[in-house]
Subunit: 403 residues, 2 copies
């Protein structure tokens, strides 16, 4: 069997990690032939010959020796151009670009089928934790009921600083930026989009359904206030940013990204710092928990390496579940129990609660705990975005309103 | 693609689970054609037509419609007969028989190659946790450094009763038997053999090396006394039965099964009750933790179903790592730090400690904490089997004495 000859797009943190990991994994029989970057003159932290680096995509696309393209660039639209061109030219791709994949997965699946090539992307969801491959191959049946987890390391790091180190939210955010666990502009992570894109990819492999980003309720951690934090501490729970896809009946499922009060008895309670943790629940095997480093140069790169070798051995995603006779339908018509904190926004008057369990009123803060439909949270989204409002999920089990 | 037509050997707990799981997984396109049991007249907990059950192996072997044999019987030697006959006849097998597989793996690999058939056995190690498949496919490179875990649910359940419910060892053992978490004769589990056999299988897929059961130090939990339990409680640690395979250098590794003092900061500390947990450590991805139900009718059966479907899609183990140019060597020439409790046995005089860190002497109990080679524990095994002696591992990192 010939060796893996890689054309690499991107030499940022993950690209550098790939160079390092390939040099360590002596038995993988892989080598990087060419690296395409935006700025060839930029200094790099890894030692690669200057001649290997190019700014010209066709130096990779037209090299007949290259039998695999690895794409780990930051710009999702450029990534989509590169990956779709590669697939159209009959070259398989390993990619780590979650945003690009989550936005374009139906087209990318079509391209794989049309050109009989493979696109692997386990690194795109939870870095080194093999979530996608396990959902696709091992949990490859209709027993799966739920995938739920902490998919974003940055926001989890911030919340850990708050709950394990007693920092305020603002302090914690600064610590995360200072230590490199959050970007200088952290909005992609803390507003929940990173979790959202991972959840979309996971859902394709968990239930065989692609749902568009705009159709999914995504509420990040930016609204969390000291009041919410104190409330959680008093109740001896932590606030975590949780992404979940849940079957609520044989033929319906829901999904969303939302902060959640997490009690100590739950597996994800102990997922701290920059770690990710995923709970896979099935009808016969109950809960399985996978835990590890969800991001970072070497963890992500080692996941890319696994995909490279898997491709070399002929592996491709079958997207089997998409072909099932009874693929479940996505619904937002489900009842959630939520905590909503507010000051001036007239929450009670504006939101169509089905029932109210608790009301707290004071001069500085009010909150309501009540039941409301997910679709009503979506349709009243602008209220939830008010400065003085925060939303935290409490429900563990959903009621399917159509049953 | 034709459907999966199963010849099932065994209709005990797991066999019944398989019947149930197949009936639930409507999209798996699998059906059981025939079930071979030792006693066809025995009443069963599942509803299968009488005509499906036979006592005659050839009713399965000679049925041309059966394209997969699933073997889940209790007797390891009979299991080996069945599996090797099936493979020799060119029929692929899914098996859950850890003892049989751990004892006969080299012959079974040879049979798979010779007859170009597949034997899958993910259920044999940690039930529903996909350890084998992940080691074989995802951690399929030489970055892997260590696999360590709680692989036996029965002994873990007993130790959990002791440390989380303050029961004595004897009470805990009785509770485990009463609740069905341990067999009436629990020796296979509590003496560490169940963990040992799983560890042997894991090591083949982790490092590409098969080590015979007799060459591996295996010390169960039967010697643990109230004194040891109190010692652990005072130190705020738990005692867990830990199986581990660890690379101690680029070309050497060691493995053993031994009770261990586990501190709160370790992932396996929280693996309680009948659960299993496995930590996979690698050079680039640090520690990954997988947690779930390691045994039981439905969890094990759902793992069997995954293997059935994987086989149907052409999956087989490649045993890639066995073909690496630099497969690591098994050694027991490593230094461990251990706690040995004793009363009358002259431990200090009998065992060749390299160094002693602590000595405790009293009328009712004595203990030593010291460093000793694993090979010396093996060669002095009979002393460690004395009634008044118990051995508990403390070391987390090993020194390779040949380096």
């Amino acid at each position: 069997m010939s060796s893996i000859k890689v054309g690499l797009f991107g030499l940022g943190t993950v690209g550098e990690g790939i160079v390092n990991v390939i040099s360590k994994a002596r038995n993988a029989d892989a080598e990087i032939k060419r690296i395409c970057v935006r700025d060839a003159s930029k200094p790099r932290n890894v030692n690669v010959p200057k001649s290997m680096i190019t700014e010209n995509r066709s130096d990779i696309f037209e090299d007949p020796e290259i039998n695999l393209i690895v794409e780990v660039i930051n710009d999702p639209e450029a990534a989509f151009e590169i990956v779709s061109e590669a697939l159209s030219r009959g070259i398989s791709v390993v990619s780590g670009s979650k945003t690009m994949i989550a936005r374009h997965l139906p087209e990318l699946i079509e391209l794989q089928r049309k050109h009989n090539v493979s696109l692997l992307y386990d690194a795109s969801s939870c870095g080194s934790i093999p979530v996608i491959r396990n959902l696709e191959e091992y949990y490859d049946n209709d027993l799966l009921l739920e995938v739920k987890g902490i998919l974003n390391g940055s926001s989890n790091f911030i919340l850990s600083r708050v709950f394990d180190h007693n920092e305020s939210y603002d302090q914690a955010l600064q610590t995360a930026i200072d230590l490199g666990f959050a970007e200088a502009d952290p909005s992609f992570d803390i507003e929940g989009y990173d979790s959202l894109y991972k959840l979309i990819i996971i859902t394709v492999h968990a239930l065989g359904v692609y749902v568009k980003p705009n159709d999914i309720f995504t509420y990040g951690i930016t609204h969390i206030s000291d009041f919410d934090i104190n409330y959680a501490r008093e109740k001896r729970v932590k606030i975590k940013l949780v992404a979940q896809v849940v079957k609520i009946s044989d033929n319906r499922f829901t999904m969303f990204v939302m902060p959640e009060f997490v009690t100590k008895s739950r597996y994800i309670y102990s997922v701290d710092d920059e770690y990710n943790g995923v709970v896979i629940r099935g009808e016969c095997y109950d809960r399985q928990f996978m835990f590890g480093k969800g991001a970072g140069s070497l963890p992500t790169a080692s996941s890319i390496l696994s995909d490279m070798v898997a491709h070399h051995h002929g592996y491709k995603y079958d997207y089997k579940k998409m072909g099932y006779a009874d693929v479940p339908q996505y619904t937002t018509d489900v009842l959630l129990k939520v905590y909503i904190r507010f000051l001036e926004t007239p929450i009670l008057e504006s939101l169509p609660f089905i029932s109210i369990q608790e009301r707290y009123i004071s001069k500085s803060n009010n909150y309501i705990i009540g039941e409301i439909k997910l679709c009503d949270l979506i349709s009243h989204r602008e209220i939830l975005d008010h400065q003085d409002v925060s939303l935290i999920n409490i429900s563990r089990f959903f009621e399917d309103l159509d049953q």
